[in-house]
Amino acid sequence: MQLFASDLNLIKCLTSMTDEKLVRRCLKNNREAQRELFEKFSGKMMTLCIRYAGNQEDAKDILQEGFIKVFQNLNQFSGKGSLYSWIRAIMVTTALRFIRKSSYVTEMVDLNDTNIPDNISHPESILNSKDLLEIISRLPAGFRTVFNLFAIEGYSHKEIGQMLEISESTSKTQFIRAKARIQHLIKEYNPALSV
């Protein structure tokens, strides 16, 4: 067990060292290194972009814009946190700016049944990440944004309020409604699921 822990630690350390090297090469405006960095993170960042954009085309635009920003501002990367979370933060900001062009708080949906149970039984076996992404994409933009920021990025409602220039309580209600909507969508998506 101890051996395993040491191995894991070493791997973590090596990862951060390779990132550091990669960043240094990218800062020299080395296209090959920039491509390497792009390929290393683009898969996960694509998922992130789809989560916010709700469709492939917009997601691709956000991804491109985000990576350009990453390369333009790489000299500001302090190296304190991980490169991965730094890039993530840039992507989220880029996505939010992109969505801001379309309004996201305007879409309020009537829900006759707001008292929906929170839990789903055994959903993992039936819903893979593709299904989840599909469900998220079907949410109205406002719900999607708040749900992403709270449930997946892990921001607090207070932080979300500041980011989206809405009140903390709006963020909370948006989130609750988003969750209720997701329950509906899951049911629609797979009626076999007990919701």
Binding site: G43, R51, T93
Partner: protein, 303 residues
């Protein structure tokens, strides 16, 4: 029966999920990078402040072209006299634009004008070509020295969230501050302090790498005496984010939170008091460096 909340389901299912990037995305990024961050092979000297030299070389080339064309055209007459004035205007504006970055002396450009006005049409094309070259170079160098205004604003907007992410812990400490009595006394209670650091015994090869640490109480006594009234987690800055799930012994989720200032007050989701007893805790930790992992724990609820 194991239940999962929607947040957990989506968080675990999507946070690290990868997706196919459409083909040609990198090519398009590369094309844009060629504009915003052009590769500097020859122009590298420009970046390092030797603008004068590079500029002179270019202007010199333009002059040589001008002189060659002039001598070639000397044999021809000034039959296009009325057109010359017009052409001169165009050329002068072009040169004026070109002068903005002030990379070559006015004398140079004057000379150029003089050589050019001999025969407007042919020469203009030539000059245009050299112009294009020059202005491209100028754009490059100016871009490097002073970023364009819109780039600056973008940089500013980016810096903000970055600082938030990197310095996530000031927020946390700020939140922890208002109730230090609760927190500190809670941790020094009879049950002692639970400190989980997965690689504690390891000699860390990278000095800059902090080990994730999580502190939490093992007992909750919600009796409003300010001692262990709530269950909460404190982390150091090596923890990027975490998700805490409180479950009863049959695995049903009682409460869950992501925010650093989240807590459990011994109540069920509907607000009623949870029965005394043992509760299961699952902490899903995303460290700043490395892969996420789970920490299982238990908490005793005493009434």
């Amino acid at each position: 029966m194991k239940n999962t909340s929607i947040e957990t389901l989506f968080n675990h299912g999507l946070r690290e999920a990868e997706n196919q990037v459409p083909e040609g995305t990198w090519k398009e990024i590369e094309d844009q990078l060629d504009i915003v961050l052009p590769i500097k092979n020859a122009p590298e000297t420009i970046q390092k402040g030797k603008i004068g030299t590079a500029g002179k070389v270019i202007v010199g080339t333009a002059m040589i072209i001008g002189v060659i064309v002039t001598s070639f055209l000397l044999f021809q007459n000034e039959k296009t006299a009325p057109a010359i004035d017009h052409a001169q205007n165009i050329i002068q504006t072009e040169i004026h634009l070109q002068e903005q970055p002030a990379l070559h002396s006015p004398a140079d450009s004057k000379m150029k004008v003089e050589t050019i006005i001999e025969e407007p049409f042919v020469v203009k094309q030539e000059v245009n070509e050299s112009n294009r070259m020059i202005s491209h170079e100028l754009f490059t160098s100016r871009d490097d020295i002073n970023p364009l205004p819109d780039q600056t604003t973008e940089t500013e907007t980016i810096t903000k969230p970055l600082q938030e992410v990197v310095a996530a812990e000031p927020v946390q400490t700020k939140i922890a501050e208002p109730e230090p009595v609760v927190a500190e006394r809670a941790f020094q209670n009879v049950t002692g302090e639970a400190v989980i650091s997965p690689t504690e015994e390891m000699e860390n090869p990278a000095e800059s790498m902090l080990k994730p640490e999580l502190h939490f109480n093992e007992v909750v006594t919600p009796n409003a005496d300010n001692i262990n009234d709530i269950f909460r987690i404190e982390t150091n800055e090596a923890v990027e984010s975490f998700t805490v799930t409180v479950m009863n012994l049959s695995g049903n989720i009682i409460h869950q939170w992501h925010a650093p200032n989240g807590f459990w007050d011994g109540r069920l989701e509907n607000g009623s008091l949870a029965p005394a007893g043992k509760y299961l805790i699952d902490i899903f930790v995303q460290p700043v460096n490395g892969a996420p992992y789970h920490i299982p724990a238990t908490v005793q609820l005493i009434r």
